[in-house]
């Protein structure tokens, strides 16, 4: 019996337990080794005039996060302390192609890089701040398939020009008043840019008479382009390893040196913004390695830089040190989404010596709450479990915060270093995915859901009293 058992055991152990093993390896999804080459795009070929007139209303919001990139607006007049139950009065509304592209405002004109779904074209629309009627539109045909929306960037405006970056990384520069086409760059074709998943989220930067772009291509990482001519003024070489993220370049002065800070997929970098070595990499770190990055870096005092992202990345705080013209960067703190201020789509606001933002959905019990953090990203307080938001935008308007949730509910709240005090709350948009950043010009707030942009009057009008 024991002999039989030994033979049976020997036979059992001698058998291959699994005859067919299916290893999980790359390529099991049937994705072709090479995708078809993108069609060539002739940038700026479409133009159409409209009936709109530029407004004389005050106020400007000339780029992503406003004139000083802080997302802090100074209203031209006091804002109302309360709203009617159905929200502040709507001055005008326009339909947009599906997406998150948001407006910039200057000289009574509202600019938004829309996607015209009928023409299949990126379309820079210039609207009147008065009534939303279109002054002109300039665009180009480009095939975009719906992939969590179609559009998602904000133009940058100088006194003469408007610069846009489209979903497939087409850069266009036109005259701000007339819409006359000046120049265009297809970053994918010219620099070998890999367009991020869900399309380009990088908003262009105008610094003086230079447009600053981060194509993160095979040879060029960042470059400055003359606004008038489209000629490259300086460029930062690329190793090709760091890729374009959904984040945007932030200009700032760190330890006395002006620089452009950018969070690429691969790492964080500071590039000289002035001087004879403009375009030189001053410092870089690969410690910030989030695979998807939408928020822009936040430059804090004393050489600190705060970065955050979704997809479980959490956030990090870096400190830049300077010794003459040499810069180094070190990690101050690294934390997961449950352990500090983590934002997925919107960039935190630094105000009153504190960081503010809406936490990610994977932030544990505090998920999607509005939160205040110290300059290390440590949470000081949150809005509470009954006051949650989502991926929507938030900004400072004078002495209060404006926060939009996913479904178009706008909240006005007094916020200080100690607490969150709601002032008013109303559904102002009917649709979903209200994720495009807001813009405040004068006392008019521009905001959108996935399909429609509206202009609200937040001032002390009779309707708001």
């Amino acid at each position: 019996m024991s002999a039989f058992g030994a033979v049976a055991l020997f036979y059992w152990l001698g058998q291959t337990p699994v005859e067919v093993i299916v290893p999980n390896v790359p390529g099991m999804d049937g994705r072709p080794a090479a995708l078809p080459v993108r069609d060539s795009v002739r940038i700026g070929t479409i133009f159409e005039n409209g009936p709109g007139k530029p407004s004389r209303l005050p106020g400007a919001w000339p780029s992503f996060r406003g004139a000083d990139f802080a997302n802090i607006a100074t209203p031209s007049a006091p804002l109302a302390e309360t709203w009617p139950s159905n929200g502040p009065p709507v001055r005008w509304a326009v339909d947009l192609g599906e997406g998150y592209a948001a407006p910039a405002v200057r000289d009574g004109r509202v600019y938004v890089l829309d996607y015209d779904e009928s023409l299949k074209a990126d379309m820079l629309r210039c609207l009147s701040l008065d009534d939303g009627r279109e002054l002109w539109r300039r665009g180009y045909t480009v095939q975009i398939k719906r992939n969590h929306g179609l559009s998602r960037t904000i133009p940058a405006i100088s006194d003469r020009c408007v610069v846009t970056i489209g979903p497939r990384a087409h850069t266009m520069c036109v005259e701000a008043e007339s819409g006359r086409f000046l120049w265009g760059i297809d970053m994918e074709r010219r620099f070998g840019t890999r367009v991020p998943d869900w399309y380009t989220g990088q908003c262009p930067l105008i610094d003086g008479n230079i447009a600053v772009l981060a194509p993160c291509g095979t040879n060029v990482f960042m470059l400055g382009v003359d606004l008038a001519t489209g000629v490259t003024v300086w460029q930062t070489p690329s190793s090709g390893e760091w890729k374009m993220s959904h984040s945007s370049i932030v200009p700032g002065t760190i330890l006395g040196r002006r620089m452009y800070v950018y969070a690429a997929v691969g790492g964080l970098v500071g590039v000289a913004a002035d001087g004879p070595d403009r375009g030189r990499v001053l410092w870089q770190t690969a410690e910030w390695r989030a695979p998807v990055i939408a928020p822009a870096p936040v430059i804090l005092p004393d050489g600190r830089i705060f970065v955050t992202a979704g997809y479980g990345a959490g956030g990090m705080v870096f400190k830049v040190a300077r010794e003459e013209e040499s810069f180094t960067v070190t990690v101050v703190r690294k934390f997961g989404p449950r352990d500090g201020l983590a934002c997925e789509q919107q960039t935190p606001v630094y105000d009153q010596g504190r960081l503010f933002g809406v936490l990610t959905k994977d932030s544990g019990a505090n998920r999607t709450q509005f939160a205040c953090a110290d300059h290390d990203g440590a949470i000081l307080w949150t809005s509470g479990k009954d006051t949650r938001f989502g991926f929507g935008p938030f900004m400072v308007a004078g002495d209060r915060f404006l926060i939009l949730d996913d479904d178009g509910v706008l909240t006005m709240a007094r916020v200080d270093a100690e607490r969150f005090l709601p002032m008013a709350r109303a559904r102002v948009l009917a649709g979903t995915d209200s994720w495009g950043p807001m813009a405040l010009a004068g006392t008019r707030l521009l905001l959108r859901d996935s399909r429609r942009m509206i202009c609200l009057e937040l001032g002390e009008t009779e309707e708001n009293l």
Partner: protein, 195 residues
């Protein structure tokens, strides 16, 4: 729902499990006649996807092994993204099908290229253990098209569901047997939704 597609031959572990499964199935079948009168036409257990917090207990608390809870995919809610919060680990550097980039511990989600930039994600039910890791990822970073449901072709409808007892969110309640699933998407908007 997708049919299992992986070709898997019988392993020692599978043999032992299937033996246990047959025994359990026989016991369940024996008991079925006794309890049918009590449940038929009445109520069955189901998960409310809007209450589920993906704690993982559905995979471990069920009297069945693997659990009667499976992931379900509402295709009309899915974004068909290249980077999928339900399929890829949050920190995946590369969005491919390599094991190290997959979130599911049993590789129960099959990813198929449709056309640039779309990918389809199917649940391989034979491999799904109902852990909810993909559901958490999809809800945190995607549209929430993946969700957990008690599959009534497996559930033995215990008088006291052990998962419901252990659920920290009280997400499992009895629902009418005539509408045994709580779905999302177009099917979820139908009163008489059926999987």
């Amino acid at each position: 729902m997708a049919e299992p597609v992986r070709k898997v031959t019988l392993s020692r572990r599978a043999f032992l499990k299937s033996s246990a499964g047959v025994t359990a199935l026989a016991a369940a079948a024996a008991g079925l006649g006794l309890r049918r009168s009590a449940i038929a036409g009445d109520t069955v257990w189901q998960i409310d996807p809007d209450k589920c917090v993906q704690c993982g207990r559905c995979a471990t608390s069920c009297v069945l092994a693997p659990s009667a809870v499976k992931c379900v995919h509402a295709y009309d809610v899915c974004g068909y993204c290249n980077r999928c919060g339900g399929f890829h680990t949050p920190t995946a550097k590369v969005t491919d099908t390599a094991a190290e980039n997959q979130l599911c511990p049993t590789s129960a989600i099959r990813r198929t290229f449709v056309e640039d930039p779309y990918y389809r994600y199917d649940i391989v039910e034979a491999l799904c253990i109902g852990c909810g890791m993909c559901v958490k990822g999809c809800g945190s970073f995607g549209n929430g098209s993946l969700f957990l449901q008690i599959r009534h072709d497996r559930c033995v409808n215990c008088n006291q569901c052990t998962i419901a007892r252990d659920c920290p969110a009280q997400a499992i309640t009895r629902v009418p047997a005539s509408r045994p699933y709580r779905l999302r998407g177009v099917q979820g908007r139908s009163r008489d939704a059926q999987v």
